[in-house]
């Protein structure tokens, strides 16, 4: 039923950026993600919601193969980026992660200068031909992340000295500096205060015009505010997928209703 809904939608819209087909993830004996099928559109924010341990972060980490580094993690099924299977042996994981950027739960700027934080990605991927081009990338990324005005006079200051919200926006600037196509955000506001959260949410809204964004969140309100599509997970299963407004006003599944009204989770 779910697949049919997705298929019918496919015909109406532009081709999806990322396609997830029947993905299962095992950590040793634990079956963390059980057969997820999902499409991500290039100009949409998709929110993954669900109680802790439901596999939403695990799924997120499948999309840029961050699970590769976990020793006993096994991924089955297929994840396509522009029609290409990212788990194919032909795919270079380094390039994949440049195309699918990631922002983490806890702001994790490098203990280097603000400039070097943003310039690191372009440097390792050789995106700037000279110093001027690099300066431009850094400025544009910080501008896009809404941080330029706050830090333009202290680019050589260490990134970890910024406030929590600024650090998270720095991490977003760092992710967009390599010009990704998809941005994965793993509870990006969970360690931020409400004001910083509002700033990051506004930023996500702006970025959604240009990037496919997937955001994992524990906050129903946040999912409702920033996303166009919402996916609800429970115990590793994808329960419901749909438009955010529909999901929060008229959920199709009982379990979804129970969760968003606070009865489970």
């Amino acid at each position: 039923m779910l697949n049919a809904a997705i298929e019918s939608e496919n015909e109406a819209l532009s081709p999806p950026k990322m396609t997830i087909r029947d993905v299962h993830v095992h950590y040793g004996d634990i079956h963390a993600v059980k057969g997820v099928t999902l499409d991500l559109r290039p100009d949409q924010v998709t929110a993954l919601i669900g109680p802790s341990g439901c596999g939403k972060s695990t799924l997120l980490r499948c999309m840029n193969r961050m699970n590769d580094t976990i020793a006993d993690c096994r991924v089955e099924g297929q994840v396509f980026l522009d029609g290409q299977d990212i788990y194919d042996s032909q795919i270079d994981v380094v390039q994949l992660r440049a195309r699918v950027g990631m922002v983490f739960q806890k702001p994790n700027p490098f203990p280097k200068s603000i400039y070097d934080n943003v310039a690191y990605g372009p440097r390792i991927h050789g995106l700037a031909t000279d110093r001027d081009a690099l300066d431009e990338i850094v400025e544009a990324s910080l501008e896009k992340a809404g941080l330029w005005q706050e830090v333009k006079d202290r680019l050589d200051q260490v990134g970890t000295a910024l406030s929590g919200g600024q650090q998270q926006r720095l991490c977003i600037a760092r992710a967009i500096a390599v010009n990704p196509e998809v941005i994965l955000m793993d509870e990006p506001c969970s360690s931020l205060d409400p004001i910083a959260t509002a700033k990051v949410e506004a930023l996500i809204d702006e970025l959604s015009a240009r990037y496919a964004i997937v955001i994992v969140t524990h906050s129903m309100q946040q999912a409702a505010r920033v996303s166009q599509k919402t996916v609800f997970f429970h115990l590793g299963e994808m329960i419901e997928y749909g438009d955010t407004t529909q999901m929060f006003t008229a959920p199709r599944e009982d379990r979804t209703r129970d969760y968003i009204t606070g009865r489970i989770g």
Partner: protein, 440 residues
């Protein structure tokens, strides 16, 4: 939950009952007792340290001083080469001069009452055998003194030195003393004429080893230790850090790496002399390298330091928060780039601290070096890693083994030099840790 347990929780606790107060008192008492025991343990450790250092400094400080005697030396032209000769020729001719005779004459001039072969020998033996070298240096530097008489401060023998420093009980019967009554009289005359001085002895820092306590110096051992540690550092540091990075960042976690890890930990606990045996069997036996050389000593100590460096480097690397690795990996950095751009620079202070502590341990090590022949008596300061050399702790061991009384203070003084280097290295480790420590 049964009704019974619920009732227990509903009961009001009486915080003022004698039972509760007694319990509180007991708690305070054990608290106080534990603190008292802890404090006295620290105090006892401190006291032992103060006693140890105090003892070494008390014994060793005089080792940096040496007695000299001022002698009127007549540079008799009939015994010396022609001062108008070319400098090089003069120096060559000086090598054949019997300076002992010159010295004897000068001393006999000062003590006309001394006669007879035995007494003359006793008189000249009040000066160190190094006095001749001192005279030679003066003459070679300035041949113009030939034919003149000059006041020259010459090193006294170690026995005279010990009497001057008050280390010998001169009230003992004569046969129990090295310095007999006659010599004491001569010494008293020198002293009454103000010809005896006890002053800082730079030779102790700048010279190599010697059979004579008044001529020994630690420079040979310092250079030997320096060369040995250099070899140790150049081999153990890159190998150790590379192993640590590989094991932490790249190696799969399986049975094999578990075994490697257990063995590295075991290796750190192997007695050092065993590493000496390994060095003897492999570097000398199989590779046929030079005996007593810093290169062999350094390689042997590298085997000893390697586990320390690997363990501390692994700990430092593991302490780098995973979020930094995630951040770099999420940007598309390869494992190599994650390790070398982020993890290793952040772990460097910890790695360096561990390395310096390992080096400090290597500096203090003597047992493995005994096995590879670095215990030989070596007078010359080594000029390279293949020259025979000794190291500070072995030098201390050798001097502690020497029968002359004057070696007691030389031993302690050498320990002071060793401690100075150890404290300097540990100080450097602390400085590095504070200077480069980062907060997340």
């Amino acid at each position: 939950m049964t009704d019974n347990t619920r009732n227990i929780l509903d009961q009001q606790v009486d915080w003022h009952s004698p039972k509760v107060r007694a319990r509180l008192r007991r708690r305070h008492r054990t608290d106080f007792l534990f603190r008292a025991i802890g404090f006295s343990a620290v105090a006892a450790a401190g006291l032992f340290l103060v006693f140890l250092l105090g003892n070494i400094i008390k014994n060793g400080a005089p080792g940096f001083l040496q007695t000299s005697i001022e002698v009127d030396v007549a540079f008799d032209p009939s015994l010396l080469p022609d001062p108008t000769l070319e400098r090089a020729e003069f120096a060559a001719a000086m090598a054949r001069v019997d300076l002992q005779r010159l010295l004897r004459q000068s001393l006999l001039d000062h003590f006309p009452e001394v006669s007879g072969r035995a007494d003359t020998i006793r008189l000249t033996r009040m000066l160190s055998s190094g006095a001749r070298a001192q005279l030679r240096d003066i003459l070679v530097r300035n041949p113009a003194v030939v034919g003149t008489t000059g006041k020259v401060w010459l090193l006294a023998s170690d026995e005279v030195d010990q009497v001057v420093k008050g280390n010998v009980d001169i009230s003992l019967p004569e046969q129990n003393r090295k310095l007999k009554n006659k010599e004491l009289v001569w010494l008293q005359r020198f002293e009454s004429e103000g010809r005896v001085s006890l002053s800082f002895h730079s030779r102790f820092i700048t010279a190599g080893d010697s059979r004579e306590p008044e001529l020994v110096g630690v420079w040979g051992a310092i250079v030997g230790s320096g060369l040995t540690l250099l070899v140790t550092l150049l081999t153990a540091f890159p190998i150790g850090v590379a192993s640590a990075i590989y094991l932490e960042e790249f190696a799969p976690k399986n049975r094999f790496t578990d075994i490697v890890e257990v063995n590295i930990n075991n290796l750190a606990a192997v007695p050092s002399i065993v590493f000496g045996l390994l060095g003897l069997a492999f570097f000398l036996g199989v590779m046929g390298m030079a005996r007593s050389a810093p290169i062999v000593g350094g390689l042997t100590l590298a085997l000893l330091t390697l586990p320390t460096i690997i363990i501390s480097a692994r700990a430092a690397i593991a302490a780098v928060p995973p979020s930094i690795r995630d951040a770099a990996r999420g940007l598309g950095a390869s494992s190599m780039q994650v390790a070398f751009h982020h993890v290793v620079p952040l772990a460097m202070p910890g790695i360096l601290t561990g390395t310096i502590i390992g080096m400090a341990r290597a500096l203090g090590e003597s047992a493995p070096l005994l096995m590879i022949g670095m215990v030989a008596f070596i007078v010359d300061v080594p000029g390279g890693v293949n020259d025979p050399a000794t190291v500070l702790p072995v030098q201390i061991f050798l001097w502690a083994d020497s029968p002359e009384r004057a070696f007691i203070e030389k031993t302690s003084a050498a320990i002071m030099v060793l401690l100075f280097f150890l404290i300097a290295m540990n100080g450097m480790a602390i400085w590095l840790r504070q200077r480069f420590e980062r907060k997340w």
